[in-house]
């Protein structure tokens, strides 16, 4: 299980790109943190989510 924004998800083994594609998140509007570290945008394709990871997806909305 991977804890994403506080909820357990059965997504271990997926890359960040694959996970985002399986959700409603727009990859151009997010910042992704994994185990307390920013995941570089250029590494979304190669970063595989592992069992026990804690992930935070910050998805920005419009207005300011």
């Amino acid at each position: 299980m991977v804890k994403i924004n506080g909820e357990d998800r059965d997504v271990a083994g997926m890359t960040v790109t694959e996970y985002l594609a399986s959700t409603d998140y727009n990859p151009k509007r997010v910042a992704v943190e994994r185990n307390g570290e920013i995941v570089f945008k250029a590494q979304y394709d190669e970063t595989t989510l592992e069992d026990g990871d804690t992930v935070e997806v910050v998805s920005f909305v419009g207005g300011g």
Partner: protein, 209 residues
């Protein structure tokens, strides 16, 4: 005529001398001078922040006046220039650096280099994400305070500040999207701007984890 001594005396009396010295030494970059950024900049100027780097490519438009800290007399001016004028009327001693440009991955490093804190105050979500990712990836030593979710007439109490990771803090309700057809209302935007500004002050004073 207000002297710098009188101004500093008034700030020291309210904030405490030690804290005020940290504010006076600080450099904050405000990225985007709309409803968030213009209000953040005013709060920081009043707090006696030493220097602000003001960045926005846009000009003052009539649709800004409902929530942004500009005046009808400033329509058509560069926001950088108009805000600098307003800030100097409030605090004649603040140091200001203005850049009427669009921030990109190409120029961000240079624009933000001197800042202790980067304040993300854009309106377009892709731009917000670009800046946040850029700073987290390339300038991890900076404090970063961003805003997301402040549109509409919802309760102001849902707007919060959360530490996401390391030196990155996010203010807002995270969901109220102006693109859902709900407008931006001055008071609620100001609540979010106040969260950003106050978080910046607490970070500069080392009063936050």
């Amino acid at each position: 005529m207000l002297t710098q001594e009188e101004w500093m005396g008034a700030l020291n009396a309210r904030h405490g001398k030690e804290r005020q010295e940290k504010f006076s030494r600080a450099v904050v970059a405000v990225c985007g001078l709309g409803g968030l950024g213009s209000n953040v900049a005013i709060a920081l100027a009043r707090a006696g922040i030493g220097k602000l780097i003001l960045i926005d490519f846009d000009r003052v438009d009539v649709t800004n006046l409902n929530r942004q800290q500009y005046k009808a007399s400033q329509l058509g001016m560069n926001k950088t220039e108009a805000l600098a004028q307003n800030l100097r009327e409030i605090n004649p001693f603040i140091r200001l650096e203005t850049h009427a440009v669009r921030i990109s991955e190409e120029n961000a490093q240079e624009l933000l280099q001197e800042a202790d804190v980067v304040c993300e105050a854009f309106d377009v979500p892709e731009a917000k994400a670009m800046l946040v990712n850029f700073v987290l990836e390339n300038m991890p030593e900076k404090y970063l305070v961003a805003g997301s979710g402040m549109a509409g007439f919802g309760s102001p109490n849902t707007i919060q500040t959360r530490r996401i990771t390391g030196r990155f803090y996010l203010c807002g309700d995270t969901v109220s999207d102006v693109n859902d057809g709900i407008g931006l209302v001055c008071a609620r935007v100001m609540v979010c701007a106040a969260h950003e500004a106050h978080t910046i002050l607490r970070l500069l004073a080392n009063e936050i984890e």
